[in-house]
Symmetry: C2
Subunit: 142 residues, 2 copies
């Protein structure tokens, strides 16, 4: 974390560790709720500040995958994501990295400086496909 030029604090460390330990791509609120019991003075604002700082410096990634809220990923190695529009679950998608780079290289507009490439799948996961009982969509549009 210091390697990203970010000063370490109890709160920042807790957020970082949570994101590395949990591969669920949590939202800011989920992180807050998870950490609050062990850091009772914790403020939601701190979570937002911390996530913004970490994402700006590239220590984590902010996922623009869910129109309701941002999700965060502690894994900065290039990979894609699948969002289930029924239950909201987000899962990693591993790419053939050379193929991915071949596809994405030199694709951005001329002269643009690319900072990130995101690949997002949306659909219905296998679990929701089967348990189709009381279907309550998490999202209706993609």
């Amino acid at each position: 974390m210091e390697s990203y030029g970010i000063r370490v604090s109890l709160q920042r460390l807790a957020v970082m560790e949570y994101l590395i330990a949990h591969k669920t791509h949590p939202s800011a609120d989920e992180i807050f709720s998870a950490l609050y019991p062990s850091i009772p003075t914790l403020s939601r604002t701190t979570i937002y500040n911390t996530l913004n700082t970490l994402a700006e410096q590239g220590a984590i990634r902010a996922l623009d995958i869910d129109p309701r809220q941002l999700h965060y990923d502690g894994d900065t190695v290039p990979h894609g994501h699948f969002l289930c529009m029924s239950c909201g679950m987000i899962e990693d998608i591993a790419f053939d990295v050379p193929k991915f780079e071949e596809l994405t290289r030199n694709r951005a507009p001329k002269g643009a400086a690319v900072r990130s490439v995101q690949v997002t799948y949306k659909g219905i996961c296998s679990r929701c496909n089967i348990e189709n009982n009381d279907y309550r969509p998490y999202l209706t549009t993609d």
Copy 2:
């Protein structure tokens, strides 16, 4: 539009035509502001309703590219997008479709039904890269 099982109305037609005519990937509010002068009874809610209906039926695409708001695209042929984090401009990225399909095929989690694949680049466009005077970021995180 009827081919998507959507009843046509003055308002829906206006939204659809606006999206086809303007390749700028506008937000709901931009569409509202553009159409309001010619349809003075128009309501923001109608814009939201219409965009949701059109996107659900696949007549347009909702772009999850900007954490501030959704953007919409009247072009449903598969392609990617570049978002400038400085000025907010969104530009199309044409893909080598066979390569894209090769990369994305069978990548989703087992048993999942994929509805859409989105490829998003973020960075600084050439214009903002040069005119670096009063740099006020549109986004700070990706």
